[in-house]
Amino acid sequence: MDFRYTPEDEAFRQEVRAGLRAILPDDIRERQRLTTTMNSDTHDQRVWFSLLDDKGWSVPAWPTEYGGPGWSAIQKYIFEDEMYLASAPEFQWTGTHMVGPVIYHFGDDAQKERFLPAIRRGDHIWCQGFSEPGSGSDLASLRTHAKLEGNKYVVNGQKIWTSTAYEADWGFFLVKTDLTVKPQAGISFLLIDMKSPGITVRRIPQINDEEHLCEVFLDNVEVPAENLVGTPGKGWTSAKFLLEHERTSSAFIFWNKRELRRARMIADDIVHDGRPLSQSPAFAGRLARLEADLAALEWSVLRVLANESHGFDASVASSILKLRGSEMQQATTEIQVDLLATRGLRAYVPGRDQPAPSLPDWPEYVPGRTAIATIMRAATLYGGTKQVQKNILAKLAFGL
């Protein structure tokens, strides 16, 4: 047991820090620093990915044969930590963390050549088509159907909660290709060009005035059969791989650390009764507790990354990350709203051209805080609600 970073780790951190500082454009960094939306600006993401790719850093988790840098788990951790510290745009996960790994793990050579470089360079923005109106936490009840006709599938159905669908180039979909077998068996994993005729995207107005979530209607959409990844009817395996492959990302540890830093910054900035709110006992106590909880979460992440071996079930540990990570996303942003008091009630239509507030008591950090905190309620909903996660944990950990 040794819980310290090695000197090599520390040197790597310095190298990454300097490298990121050198290539991150100022305007992109500033937009990210002042973001008022949950997701980074899509244009910035594309630009940033190509810059990262020039350095060979855009897909840290991929095997080297597909362009990954060959870093250790701890190095990848340090890299992501530094990305957030640098205010770099966030990864568009759907490509690098979700469909990419499925393609290099289950795809054929043609699919790998066609899709992986474009993901690595940020050329393609991807969206995920899993959930349907009737099946939120219950994926086995999917109804979207892809019928093989010659060398193409004809897809009909409807997806929901498809983030970014309105500006995505490609989507990966779970579709039923076989209606004759039991629910989970007939599902396939299909890549669909979002510009295909027959696709209609409806942006869903959200609780926080964003419209990032979408409904996707598929009406006789023709998809080349070569776009099916893996074995037909085994899409469930790919989906499970994808959901379980990133064991620590659902902790949102870097995101949470950034938001707690932001909360502390806000608490330092707002002065009342002659002292910053960070020194008022109520907020100082809340911040301290959040820091303690986050320290625990960070070490829970490191335990999984470092492959702790004794009496340790990595599936249980990563389910815990998902649960606590989502709760911390809510807690670290809720305190920001509370710090702002009535100023936090101001509604901003989020977006790139957000006007700056004009009076001196509207500092740059105000816009976006409440919108992001509010949409964070979704953190305990997507990817299986918190209640479903607990059911799973009861079974996994205790056989209940």
Partner: protein
């Protein structure tokens, strides 16, 4: 002690429930919030017609002389129906100050409030405030001929865009914090308006050499701050009442959704974890209504007991609202975070009601301080 509704209260409630049911539908609410001033003129006229705007106004000023119990009951209904009209600010808070301060404007303005022609917003909060009431104001008033000249700025003034008048607090040399009536269109007053998350409107105000007559002065010094405390306490009670109504609506929404929505082949209402969540919501909501009654009971009593009861109610409602709105969205799954489901509008309204007239932290501190004083 009697918890039952009087005949008048029952009539009030019946009318409120009828109107709110019609107006409170989420589609109508979603339209209404795009009105630039934040005020639906037709709706406000209906409020007037039903006598709601004259409810707490004294009889001698054309009102019904209703009690705070009556006001609270009405506001429960308003909260249930997601009403975002400036009822609390104008009819509860400002009308109380105008009535108690007396003076030249009393009759006309109270009459205007009662008829629906006038809407008065309190413009007290300033940059750097955090629900401060008796800290000195940076906005200044100086004697100017027969009247006063006001300079300064106000921050996050609720309902300002639709107000016809403001009650503006300013520091008057030798007299301390003083309250002035200012017309919305007055020269030297500039508004920067913006929407709030709950669909209401607020504004930042700037006063640049704004001149008012001598009779615009309502109160000064201790009288002014006492009035502000008392009026804000009434507003806090009304906000608690709206919160209770909104939470009661959330219970109905969630109960219906739990029966209708199916997952894993059965209504989600069958799952014990969700059952316990809605029960926790019920308990919190029930306690909030009880705390509201406690605040009403103490309103006219001894000062420390009043402060404790009102802050207790705001704390209980604030904590309850956070639980109810969060559980409410969670029960609705993904639909809960869309603008299309009513629960998300109650979420935003409850967020706002928790922060209005003192948030949880403020009232916890005030309640604690009431023991030391």
């Amino acid at each position: 002690m009697n918890f039952d509704y009087s005949e008048m209260q029952q009539m009030l409630l019946d009318s409120a429930e009828r109107l709110m049911k019609e107006r409170g539908q989420v589609e109508k609410w979603r339209e209404r919030r795009h009105i630039e001033s934040g005020l639906d003129a037709d709706g406000w006229a209906q409020f007037a017609e039903l006598g709601w705007l004259m409810l707490p106004i004294p009889e001698d000023a054309g009102g019904l002389d209703g009690t705070m119990e009556d006001v609270a009951l009405l506001n429960i209904a308003l909260g249930k129906g997601l009403a975002t009209e400036p009822y609390i600010n104008s009819v509860v808070l400002s009308a109380y100050i105008l009535d108690q301060a007396g003076g030249a404007h009393r009759e006309a303005l109270l009459g205007g409030i009662a008829s629906g022609e006038a809407r008065v917003a309190l413009a007290h909060a300033e940059i750097g405030d955090r629900y401060d009431i008796d800290t000195p104001r940076a906005t200044t008033a100086v004697h100017d001929g027969n009247g006063y000249k006001i300079d300064g700025a106000k921050s996050v003034i609720f309902d300002a865009p639709s107000a016809t008048h403001f009650i503006v607090s300013a520091d008057l040399a030798d007299a301390g914090t003083s309250l002035f009536v200012v017309e919305a269109g007055a020269a030297g007053l500039a508004l920067e308006s913006y929407p709030l998350v709950d669909g209401t409107r607020a504004a930042d105000l700037r006063f640049g050499g704004l001149v008012v007559d001598a009779d615009a002065l309502l109160a000064s010094g201790a009288q002014a701050t006492d009035l502000l405390f008392a009026a804000t306490d009434r507003a806090a009670i009304a906000a608690v009442a709206q919160g209770v109504g909104s939470m009661e609506a959330c219970l109905d929404l969630c109960s219906a959704y739990m029966k209708e929505r199916k997952q894993f082949g059965q209504p989600i209402g069958n799952f014990q974890s969700l059952q316990h969540m809605i029960v926790d919501m019920l308990v919190a909501t029930h306690q909030s209504r009880s705390a509201l009654y406690g605040a009403l009971a103490a309103l006219d009593g001894e000062a420390q007991a009043r402060i404790r009861a009102i802050s207790a109610a705001k704390v209980v409602m604030g904590e309850a609202s956070q639980l109810v709105m969060r559980h409410g969205v969670q029960i609705h799954g993904g639909y809960g975070v869309t603008d299309e489901y009513a629960i998300s509008h109650h979420y935003r309204r409850l967020l706002s009601l928790e922060k209005a007239y003192g948030d949880i932290e403020y009232h916890v501190a005030r309640l604690a301080a009431a023991h030391i004083a």
